[in-house]
Amino acid sequence: MTVIIGIGNDFRGDDAVGLIVARAVRARAPDGVAVHESHGDGTTLLDLWTGVDRVIVVDAMRSGCSPGTVVRFDGLDEGRWPDGSPGALASSHAFGVLEAIELGRRLGLVPASLVVYGIEGASFDAGAPLSPHVMATIPAVVDQIVAEMGRQFGARDSALKDRPA
């Protein structure tokens, strides 16, 4: 089973992009693929992906790249995450994707395959629209995820190697 999870907040500018991509993917998703929208609460993410074969997570990111940059990587590859360390649980409210993966790994609550699409945002202001660079990147990300859904699933397959989208 494949699960697509779009993460974001519709009211915080480019943070909405994960949700918007998920909605577009849902319209084209084949049977057997579940598409979820999430505000990114880590415990909910653990529920959504535990016991699932393949998970694709789409989320806005703020990494310092230019806005609209899309990064696709293996979420289970520890080396891929910022500073390679588990993120401190800094807040009761912000137990997010990274924390969910780290916690899930320690508890055996991660899917067999976990691909993360990160889309660099420009503005995360309350009430702001999507920025043009982020808007422009959506069709290509949707196409890539749809193509990925259609591919024969193989756990941790070679397609999971990092590459620009």
Binding site: T43, L89, S92, L107
Partner: protein
């Protein structure tokens, strides 16, 4: 003069942005400041001009952990303003939804945010490697709390089914009944966790608190009650502002509340437990006593054990409410606007949450006041730190810093709520 400075960049496992600085001069605590630099959020200002019906959904956005408390305090205040009495079926359903929020919030704080302090881990993720079963149970309980929120509230965070006068739609009996087996598991699990929590090692520290909490004649206060304190306050909701004052302090974007003419006070699980222990069901009273927890408990670090007791209470109470559930029909009472002022409160997981609204004749909000639990506890947290550090000034810096952070987390502070609050900076001289 001898001086030593201790600095910690950021206090983790609390919500929001703030810092703590402690200055020790010649072996004495010279200054303790909880610096709240999370920006003010101006909710009270942008409630002005909105209708009475919008207050529960707007104020719910102040917090992602205790939205039901905001909604409950808001509807209590509005129904007070509009002289609306809701039938017991609606109160019971609100209480059930509120139990879901307590389960979610307490499970998260006890097992994810506070337990790592006592078990010697930096965070729950590192703790999970050695205490996987504890973390898994916490996740399952939190999920149960979420589920209660979803079924009654319409979604897991910021419920959309809550309104002045009642609910938009009453959930079906069978949907609630389906929660019973998981609640029975969670109740047993929480009761079993009471001796586990009580067995943790707590610093030897007690404070002469004035505890303040809601109290009901017939049930452990959650969704409403009278306000009582361990030093004689017994107030109706419209008397709140006669008893308490909010003060601005330069180092904090959150106001500090004090009992007028008296000083800081303590709200939250420890206050509720000490003031309403007699209203816990006898099996839970027995379980608390067996674990050595009897009122008055004056050690704030043991609030962790109290939260476990309340977690069990919320599970048991939710089971009772589901068993007795009778869908309110109609799901809401008609509410007509009128010019008036309403006061409302409830017991958020972190303590008393007070709202006051002044409405014009068309039901539009002219003025709003919201006093969250963390703002009420801020002055007490500073007093705790001052008293806690005083006999420990010679303790190694790292250890002292760690224990001061724990002392703050005793209150499960929610800085975002308080600014509608932590980085740590201990300076030691001598």
């Amino acid at each position: 003069m001898t001086r030593k400075d201790i600095t910690v960049a950021y206090l983790a496992r609390v919500e929001g942005e703030g810092g703590l600085s402690i200055k020790i001069r010649d072996g004495a605590v010279a200054e303790v400041k909880l610096r709240i630099f999370e920006p003010p959020r101006f909710f009270e200002a942008f409630l002005r001009g909105r209708t009475f019906a919008e207050a529960p959904d707007i104020t719910a956005r102040i917090c992602g952990i205790c939205p039901v408390a905001y909604q409950t305090s808001a509807v209590n205040a509005m129904e007070h303003a509009l002289s609306v009495q809701v039938p017991p079926e609606i109160t019971a359903l609100r209480r059930l939804l509120f139990c879901g929020e307590w389960i979610e919030s307490h499970a998260l704080h006890v097992f994810f945010l506070h337990a790592p302090d006592f078990l010697g881990y930096e965070d729950a993720i590192r703790m999970a490697a050695d205490h996987g079963e504890v973390v898994q149970r916490a996740l399952r309980m939190k999920k149960l709390g979420n589920e209660i929120m979803r079924i009654i509230g319409g979604r897991e965070v910021h419920p959309v089914n809550f309104r002045v006068g009642g609910f938009y739609k009453a959930p079906a009996r069978r949907d609630l009944a389906a929660l019973a087996p998981e609640l029975e598991w969670a109740y047993g699990c929480a009761v079993d966790a009471i001796p586990w929590a009580a067995g943790l090692t707590f610093p030897d520290f007690e404070q002469p608190y004035e505890f303040v909490a809601l109290r009901n004649p017939d049930r452990y206060a959650i969704e409403n009650g009278r306000l009582v304190s361990s030093r004689g306050i017994d107030a109706a909701v419209n008397d709140y502002l006669q008893w308490f004052n909010e003060e601005h302090v330069e180092h904090s974007n959150a106001l500090h509340s004090v009992v007028s003419g008296r000083g800081p006070y303590h709200v939250g699980p420890l206050a509720r437990f000490n003031l309403s222990f007699d209203q816990l069901p006898s099996p839970l009273q027995d379980a608390a006593r067996a674990a050595g927890l009897v009122p008055p408990c004056l050690n704030p670090f043991k609030s962790l054990v109290v939260r476990v007791v309340e977690l069990a209470y919320a599970c048991g109470e939710a089971l009772r409410l589901i068993r007795d559930y009778c869908p309110p029909d109609p799901p809401a009472v008609d509410c007509r606007p009128r010019g008036s002022t309403g006061h409302g409160w409830s017991e958020a997981p972190r303590g008393v949450l007070y709202h006051r609204y002044r409405l014009d004749d068309t039901g539009h909000i002219q003025d709003a006041k919201i006093v969250p639990p963390t703002a009420q506890n801020l002055r007490m947290m500073e007093a705790d730190l001052r008293a806690f550090v005083a006999p420990r000034v010679d303790m190694p810096v790292d250890r002292l810093t760690w224990e001061c952070e724990q002392a703050v987390r005793n209150y499960d502070p929610c800085i975002s709520c308080a600014t509608h609050f932590l980085k740590l900076d201990i300076q030691r001289e001598g």
